[in-house]
């Protein structure tokens, strides 16, 4: 199935992946009834190519983790999925990314609508400098998702409950969101993201700024959210990927090396680069 295994040098392996224009991702990129499909996605920063022919599906009610060494393009790829890269002028994306079958880079796709459908949680907790309530309500108001105040209150409460934050903040909804602890802030950001009922939630290293307890909370939360949402998470913690995801995709220097069920990736990865990375044999 693959002869790279026999190679005894990760440098050689790396070259075979990176220098080989015909390299094909190892493992099953496709899932049944995907929420989002990506095919042959290339991303360029000006003349520099950052992502090479990445194809992968994001399944329904699954958490897919994207791992890989720094600069491998996992965050860049994630940001393509809600066109967050649009804000970077020199960034250009080719290939097909479809949300429920609709091409998100099509002319007819409105980016505001897309971002309402594909929520995002960022590396550093970034609540708005507003009250807890307003943080969650902002997107709802923006998109006019609540018909009246009581409906808005309801959405805010539900979102905070889903984010597991309600019990901690229900007595200080009018206090600044920036006054919460790091973990609470990140859960507030998650509540903000789920308040507008997205179809897919992207998380870009959501726990990298948090302590282990806060991290554990968020991971638990991700697991619960999976019941309702599809989630794509970029993480540099392999343990976290192993814990929270059902599928894992390993990126290396802009290429998607391997994708497969998380259990397989972490016990018997197919590709030597994946193995080398997860066992800590190169960085």
């Amino acid at each position: 199935m693959n002869e790279q295994v026999k190679s005894d040098s990760s440098n050689l392996l790396e070259r075979e992946v990176v220098d080989n224009p015909d390299f094909v991702t190892v493992g099953d990129i496709a899932v049944e009834n995907p929420a989002m499909t990506c095919r042959d996605v290339n991303v360029y920063y000006a003349d520099k190519q950052a992502i090479f022919d990445v194809s992968v599906d994001i399944g329904r009610n699954e958490v897919i983790a994207m791992i890989g060494p720094s600069g491998c393009g996992k965050s860049t790829f994630l940001r393509c999925l809600n066109r967050m890269n649009d804000t970077i002028e020199i960034c250009r994306v080719t290939g097909d990314i479809a949300l429920e079958g609709e091409d998100i880079y099509a002319r007819s796709m409105d980016v505001v609508l897309l971002r309402a459908r594909v929520g995002m949680v960022f590396q550093k907790p970034n609540p708005f400098p507003k009250s807890v309530y307003d943080n969650v309500a902002y997107g709802v108001r923006l998109h006019g998702l609540a018909r009246n105040k009581s409906e808005l209150d309801d959405i805010v409460e539900q979102s905070l409950k889903k984010a597991g934050l309600w019990n901690e903040v229900n007595d200080r909804l009018d206090k600044p969101g920036t006054g919460l602890s790091g973990g609470q802030q990140q859960r507030l950001c998650i509540a903000r993201a789920i308040a507008i009922s997205p179809e897919l939630i992207l998380m870009d290293e959501p726990c990298s700024a948090l302590d282990p307890i806060a991290t554990a909370r968020i991971e638990d939360l991700i697991d619960e959210l999976r019941q309702q949402y599809s989630i794509a998470i970029v993480t540099h913690s392999m343990q976290q990927a192993a814990r929270v995801s059902q599928r894992t995709a390993y990126f290396h220097l802009g290429k998607l090396v391997e994708v497969g069920p998380t259990n397989d990736i972490f016990t018997k990865p197919i590709h030597g680069l994946t193995e080398g990375y997860i066992t800590g044999r190169f960085g």
Binding site: S9, F266, K268, T279, G280
Partner: protein, 241 residues
């Protein structure tokens, strides 16, 4: 031990710890083989004193078993190993208990010496014991082979050990037939016969441990468990991957 990739871990301490564990296991393998050889020697030379030494030496093996388990626990706790590292640690954990039990089997052989040559009972005749010598050579060869596979992870060697395991059954059958002819020749041999069958049984178990070790080695390399598969299935799987 060589890693799958030419390079070691980024944490060189991780490599050091794995090497340390590896040498502990290799030491156990060497000790287990030596115990068996020594035990059989005492039988041959009727040296009951040395037989006592062999028995007491078994505690060394037990101690190494405990050491190895400790090292494994520490590494898992510290390094959160995955993939090959994880498989290796799990397999090594099993390998050390196989080795420890192989040592127990060697102790049983040394027990035979004491039983035969200490006290008043009549020792068995040399002819009967020859089968034990042959079998002991064979199974100690199996363990040696397994341990060398452990060192270089050359799975051809592992398949060889598995095959030797299959042949071990045939050998056992012929040895038992051979033994029964002795009983028919001289019924006085019956008294020692039970002891000798138990000794042969111990050697067979020793070979079984060597075979299990070979199975664990296949798991280290490919991540599937072959202990309960037929040899042809195993060989097929190895070829496939």
């Amino acid at each position: 031990m060589t890693t799958i990739q030419g390079e070691g871990h980024i944490f060189t301490r991780f490599d050091d710890e794995m090497k340390q564990l590896h040498s502990t296991v290799v030491g156990m393998g060497v000790l287990a083989v030596k115990q068996l050889r020594d035990a059989v020697d005492t039988l041959r030379t009727e040296d009951t004193e040395k037989a006592h030494d062999v028995i007491s030496n078994d505690t060394k093996l037990n101690q190494l078993d405990i050491d190895a388990d400790e090292q494994i626990t520490t590494i898992i706790a510290k390094r959160a190993p995955v993939a090959k590292d994880l498989r290796e640690l799990i397999a090594v954990g099993k390998i050390v208990s196989e080795l420890e039990r192989a040592g127990d089997e060697a102790r049983k052989i040394a027990g035979l010496t004491i039983r035969f040559y200490e006290g008043t009972s009549r020792p068995p005749n040399e002819e009967i014991l020859r089968d034990i010598y042959t079998l002991a050579d064979y199974v100690s060869g199996m363990l040696e082979k397994s341990m060398s596979v452990f060192d270089d992870l050359d799975l051809n060697g592992a398949v060889e050990v598995l095959n030797m395991g299959l042949k071990l059954d045939d050998q056992l059958q012929s040895i038992l037939r051979h033994l029964s002819t002795f009983i028919m020749e001289d019924s006085r041999n019956v008294g020692n016969f039970v002891d000798i069958v138990l000794g042969i049984r111990a050697l067979e178990r020793f070979g079984g441990h060597a075979k299990n070790i070979a199975g664990h080695l296949v798991f280290i390399k490919f991540g599937f468990d072959v202990r309960h598969e037929g040899i042809d299935v195993i060989v097929k799987s190895i070829r496939e991957s």
